[in-house]
Symmetry: C2
């Protein structure tokens, strides 16, 4: 690890006569140029160029407080300092084994112009592929406890870009993506979809969520999000369609307050990632770099892993979470069947949902006292299963559905985690389905953001790993808490089971949006694509080919990957399942071979500590050919490749399960040319000879 701090000279540019000077800071490679201007009235604005192309035009900085009632928008600059930072660090797990954190920083110490004289710092970090900036409140006599009423930050993109967006909503991010020009955003319409979810916390017609992906007519790819969301609500964006300037909308609490802070404190980082190549967006580590280093000194218990689970069978109406139905899924013998399958196929874990009493009565009822997280249904013999799983070398993965009743979950957390450890479990999938209790709070508000951090902090004490469903979307906190393996926080594969589903383009967008903040538990691996197996009337289906499901293990990065389909379905296609069995979940290196949001993604990854490579390629509803050279391989070596690809007559809709498996010998000079069916994909394992 190298770590370099250098001070560099801040250049104050006399932009025009009699005006205040501008301040500029470029990225280490010079491709980005940030400018911060300070006008006569004291307002601060920033703008960003990528190789002389506009990324962000002049955009306001500032905050409104409700206590003390004060606008923090007019400042005197009392100091400006800068540094160059360069270090490399090794994540506990990740897409690459080493990450370079290289940026120039410029920091403004400012004093708000009112009598209150509050001192703030606004710090910018300029990376080669984007910027981060945040507001900092140092400890000071002028302010102690205070309440954020609004954030005034703007992101003035200034042009009517093409955008990949979901409607702003305080409580859910499980939307299909919309692809429109910014001027055509209609979040109300997009919110009004019939997919079985309540959408009561819509923000408004012009509000969209981050990560927001855009493509400019000049070829730039621009992504806006945030990093290190701690003790602050999530940020949504409100588009002003008259000038394509985004304003900030923070998630409120019951009193329409946004954040209760005490100095010293700070906002999350606001991030803009930009490149003229879409692949650079996917390989950006800027959000991770803006997060704090790991707090875990002994990460030996943290294990990237694959899992199967008593879960998809509930989605396809084979069984139910609740017992009263007479079709309870989580009974001892059924779980053993999954354990047997996992053990046979080197799958690390078995998730069991519906194991605990309470499922009969909660969904949609905003009920506070539902689960206690320690009481199994009588047909779930936890002691027997603990012993059985251990004998088979498999870990059962705990499930804590909070039912949105977070006040209740917080009462039981310690007890629940001790119960897990006592039953040889150290990974838990949490869930936050439904409206939040405490009533008045939202999934994405400050209180819940603090809850998620409280959960992962407590789990850190117990050496437990986390997979959070229905939380706020991630912002790179898995750097700080590498036991936080994954989140859902977007529209997962499950929607294919009971709604109009996810369009074939869905998985080509997620890595440019939701996954910018961190790994997603998307639950790929559905082989039985037409979902009328247990409900013959069902017209639902997964909107991909079988091979695209395989490809997702590579294109949808996560250290926790589910093989979501039923053992009986995998047993019909064990040749294809071999890929899931073989594919790694932790990587030394990653190459984004080709990518275009909404269209296609092809990624090659090198297994951690081994010479094996795995490649995944996906397309949207359009058939295509993926052509790439294998020049990422070691020179002089021969590799055995197994290519799992769509059959020539495959099609996500009409013939999704048709696949071909071929093996051949390649080297780094080989060019592969692989056809993808409409809604299709391919997966390749590349093993050194």
């Amino acid at each position: 690890m190298k770590q370099v701090f250098l001070l560099f000279l801040v250049i104050a540019i006399q932009a025009q006569s009699f005006a205040n000077p501008d301040y500029a800071c470029s990225s280490p490679d010079g491709s980005l140029r940030l400018t911060v201007s300070h006008n006569d009235a004291g307002s601060l604005h920033y703008s960003l160029l990528y190789k002389k192309l506009d990324v962000i035009k002049s955009s306001m900085l500032g905050l409104e407080l409700s206590k003390p009632k004060l606008s923090l928008s007019k400042f005197d600059i009392t100091a400006v300092d800068s540094l160059i930072f360069d270090e490399s660090w090794k994540p506990v797990w990740g897409e690459v084994s080493s990450i370079r954190n290289h940026y120039k920083q410029i920091r403004f110490t400012v004093k708000e112009k009112s009598k209150a004289g509050i001192v703030m710092q606004i710090v910018f970090r300029v990376f080669n592929d984007g910027i981060g900036f945040r507001y900092i409140f140092p400890e000071q006599a002028a302010i102690n406890h205070f309440i954020i009423a609004d954030e005034l930050t703007e992101f003035n993109v200034g042009q009517n870009h093409k955008a990949f967006w979901i409607p702003g909503n305080y409580d859910t991010n499980e939307f299909p993506y919309n692809i429109t020009r910014l001027g055509d955003i209609d979040a109300e319409k997009a919110n009004d979809i019939d997919d079985g979810l309540s959408r009561e916390s819509l923000i408004g017609k012009n509000a969209v969520q981050t990560p927001l992906m855009m493509k400019a007519d000049n070829g730039l790819y621009i992504n806006i999000h945030e990093a290190a969301l701690v003790n602050y609500p999530a940020m949504h964006l409100l588009i002003d369609k008259s000038n394509f300037n985004f304003h900030t909308q923070l998630v409120p609490d019951a009193y329409n307050n946004k954040a209760y802070l005490q100095a010293p404190s700070q906002s999350p980082w606001r991030t803009v990632i930009v490149s003229n190549r879409a692949t650079d967006i996917l390989s950006s580590k800027t959000i991770l770099n803006l997060n704090d280093p790991s707090v875990i000194t002994d990460p030996s218990y943290i294990k990237p892993q694959k899992m199967v689970g008593v879960w998809w069978e509930m989605h396809v109406n084979k069984s139910t979470w609740e017992k009263k139905s007479g079709k309870h899924g989580a009974y001892t013998e059924n779980v053993k069947r999954y354990i047997d399958f996992a053990s046979l196929h080197k799958i690390d874990g078995v998730l069991v949902e519906g194991w605990n009493v309470g499922w009969e009565d909660w969904a949609g009822n905003w009920k506070e006292n539902v689960f206690d997280f320690i009481t199994p249904y009588p047909d779930y013999d936890i002691d027997e299963l603990t012993a059985y799983a251990k004998s088979k070398g498999v870990k059962i993965i705990m499930h804590h559905e909070t039912s949105g009743s977070v006040s209740n979950y917080e009462r039981f957390m310690d007890t629940a985690y001790r119960y897990m450890l006592n039953h040889d479990m150290n990974t838990v999938k949490t869930g936050y389905v439904g409206r939040i209790i405490p009533r008045g709070e939202h999934h994405d508000g400050q209180w819940m953001v603090n809850h998620y951090v409280r959960v992962i902090s407590k789990m850190t004490g117990y050496k437990i790993m986390l997979d959070a469903h229905e939380p706020v979307r991630p912002t790179g906190l898995h750097r700080t808490y590498p036991n936080w393996l994954a989140c859902e926080a977007a529209r997962g594969n499950e929607f294919n089971a009971w709604s109009k589903g996810n369009n074939p383009e869905h998985e080509t967008i997620l890595p440019f949006t939701r996954l910018m903040g961190g790994p997603m538990d998307y639950t790929p691996g559905i082989f039985h694509i037409k979902l009328n197996q247990f409900d013959t009337s069902s017209k639902n289906q997964v909107h991909t080919t079988l091979c695209k499901q395989l490809a997702l293990y590579v294109t949808m990065y996560s250290p926790l990957q589910m093989a979501a389909d039923l053992p009986e379905n995998y047993n019909k296609h064990l040749d294809a399942f071999k890929f899931i069995e073989d594919v790694a979940v932790d990587w030394d290196d990653t190459k984004i071979l080709e990518a275009e949001p909404g269209d296609y993604i092809t990624i090659a990854r090198k297994e951690k500590g081994k010479g094996n490579w795995f490649v995944g390629g996906i397309t949207d509803e359009q058939a295509r050919k993926s052509v790439f050279k294998c020049d990422f391989l070691d020179a002089g070596k021969k590799y055995t490749v197994t290519i799992y690809r769509d059959a020539s007559n495959a099609d996500w809709k009409s013939n999704p399960e048709a696949y071909t498996i071929e093996k051949k010998i390649i080297d780094k000079n080989t060019e592969l040319n692989i056809p993808l069916a409409p809604g299709g994909g391919f997966a390749i394992s590349i093993i050194p000879q």
Copy 2:
């Protein structure tokens, strides 16, 4: 214990031709007569007579739901049943050793007239001194989860009574009492008092709190309150000054919902207590009787007790809760001093506030993470004090100031209670100062009501006793949880230390209002009346004479009584302190000798298990003579009485500490004639020879 159930015939009265019948139910002694009428539209109204005098004129019954959106106000009566109940039960502690629960009940099973067809029961119990009624939702297909938007219950007193009231407020009940005609209620004005408390949750100009005490021009004393407040918000009353009909205002949550219920469930009991004698109001056990029997099978750990504490010294600026001031009160040697004093004077407990870190930064800041309830300040040696207290036969009383951050307290409850038991403590004073977190909840809303019950339930598991400060006002739940010794929930003696204080009439009103629901930890016993001892500039003083402070140990019933002043002040008046040392805190019998709300109260109580009697008498700002016969004493016995009374020149304002102690021998034929100074009182111990 006798327990009798009898069915009696429900008399349906044909009130007028072609009208629906009325239903009547009288009290066992016939003095009260309840009538329930059912009009053509389906509305139900009740009215109440006391010996043919109007108590409640025709008043509506019903509820509004917000989910499902529905008015429960028009009904078909599907059944009417009745019973006579008569049992006697023995409280674990109380004002009397045996309580008779004797009432006639009439229960209406009704079906709401809309398509939904929800079935409810409305049950009335008619006691000799009042009524209780509640709404019951049986389990049924027509309704499961539902939300109460409003309660439609009316209390139509119909005349412009004199009333003893405090303004309706969702978060505090620490107001001085107002005495006005109902038509002159102005809660806004009454809310706007300069006593250092924030009063942000005022309900409105016409809202008052319960227990509401009234006196009618026809001589009736009428009290409106509720019993068994569980899983429901507190009820406030909105006066309609055009007709003197009270409407119900329930405490809302962040969404203006009032209660989230699931059938089967029920409202608390709405209570009206009435008599032509004020003394009957004070001796009523109707609210207790409407509560469920004790859930505690082994009450052996529950001990009525007296305490001193490191507490008043903070109120009079001798020391502080926080340590940073340099005047920290809760340091080891100081606590030992209190332990020594308690041990010497047979005081059971020593309360210590400010023992734990966090006091430097929370008040008024609505801060969530303040206390952890297990970390003492470094100058508080808890292990040494635990051992020292034990060696002296004294119990330290734990203090848990939640700072209103209830979400935080709930996370620590188990840990905190285990910590108490590990340090030989089994009584805790909780505090709820400040705005509630979860933000959007109120001290008196359903969520907090459930919290208080959650606390006492959990304490029951740990065998811990509770004294709750700043909770919702009590409703008799100490019958169900006799380890819930006392609450503050009103304006305590402490206000004398740092506000305009409590007028001399204050303590003559509290037993008719706040204490109707349960014991109050009023913290009497201040001997150093003028409070400039440590702050010479202070003009504050206790608004009573010293003898009135003694009398409060009898007139302000509580099984937990503090001797609130400092040991050094008691040591100057050990002759008067003898009464505090002697007075009992648990009773076999109680006689309300004379009482008039706002004017005077005289009460005699017989010590539990002993022949000793203690009498307390208080007056308002008027001097008076209390003249009573001692005919409550056993015939043929001689008693030594010690009379602690105001000196002849005593006056609460000009000469409050002047007292006289006299001893004599009396028997049951003795008539005592005791002068009380303005703002004065007297205390008497009566010990059999």
